[in-house]
């Protein structure tokens, strides 16, 4: 595995991650990304006005907690509810799971090591099944019984992905 930085065409520093036999470019989202990214997730957001949802996306962009693969096949926007705990705003990666894993490695393994957990309150149109592999077992059980939010422990995800990278004979950068 190799990680490096480069100047993003949309401004700012972007991250290039080579892992699992592929190369993935991770960039910060800009305000221009909000509308096209919203279009990709809007069919799940049946319980919130578009303006309110986009305002939260904008907040994530402004605090530098909105990331995407360069081709926008995956993105994650979150805001902070506490210095180390995030609240998921927009998460998408269905079409590029390997890229999504690479994006999570870049964000929580290198760019934001401070945030160790992210809470997701599922919108009405979202299924718990789309979060199974990133959330904790306890929050999955709690969600099934009470329908509350789910929690992803990003430090545990990084440990899991590190073990997977190393098991494949690659060195964790």
């Amino acid at each position: 595995m190799q990680i490096s930085e480069y100047e993003s065409p949309s401004g700012g520093v972007a991250t290039k991650l080579e892992v699992f036999g592929g190369t993935f470019n991770i960039e910060l989202c800009t305000l221009d990304d909000i509308d096209p990214h919203y279009e990709k997730v809007k069919h799940w957001i049946t319980d919130m006005k578009p303006s309110a949802y986009k305002a939260r996306m904008r907040e994530a962009v402004e605090i530098g907690k909105a990331f995407k693969l360069a081709d926008s096949s995956s993105f994650l926007y979150y805001i902070l509810t506490n210095p180390q705990i995030g609240e998921g705003v927009a998460y998408y990666g269905k079409g590029n799971p390997l890229g999504t894993i690479a994006m999570i490695i870049a964000i929580f393994g290198y760019l934001d090591k401070r945030t160790f957990a992210i809470r997701f309150a599922l919108h009405d149109g979202k299924s718990i099944d789309e979060y199974r592999s990133i959330i904790t077992k306890s929050s999955l059980s709690r969600y099934i019984t009470s329908g509350t939010h789910v929690m992803a422990r990003t430090d545990d995800l990084i440990k899991k992905y590190k073990a997977l990278v190393e098991a494949r004979g690659e060195e964790w950068a």
Binding site: G93, S133, I134, R168
Partner: protein
């Protein structure tokens, strides 16, 4: 390794990803894993059942929505037990 033992190892990995264990005749997608979970399981399987030379990357082009566990275990078995190509 017997096929059932291989399935048990795969099911242990599926449980770790918060999926539901499956039987031989179930499809992989019956495990309820999300797309990230499926990728992780396939990457783990390539580590659990390492392939000999000509089968490297044997799980990279499978038909994920339709493949059954029996087919998947068969692929792992073939890839990990075939003799390496002659020099």
């Amino acid at each position: 390794m017997k096929k059932q033992e291989m399935l048990d190892k795969i099911n242990a990995a599926i449980r770790k990803e918060n999926g539901v264990p499956v039987n031989m005749d179930d499809k992989l997608v019956s495990s309820g894993l999300d797309s990230l979970g499926v990728v992780i399981i396939l990457l783990e399987m390539e580590c659990m059942f390492p392939a000999t030379g000509q089968h490297t990357g044997y799980l990279s082009e499978i038909d994920v929505p339709n493949i059954t566990m029996r087919e998947l275990v068969g692929k792992c078995r073939l890839a990990s037990t075939s003799p390496p190509p002659a020099e």
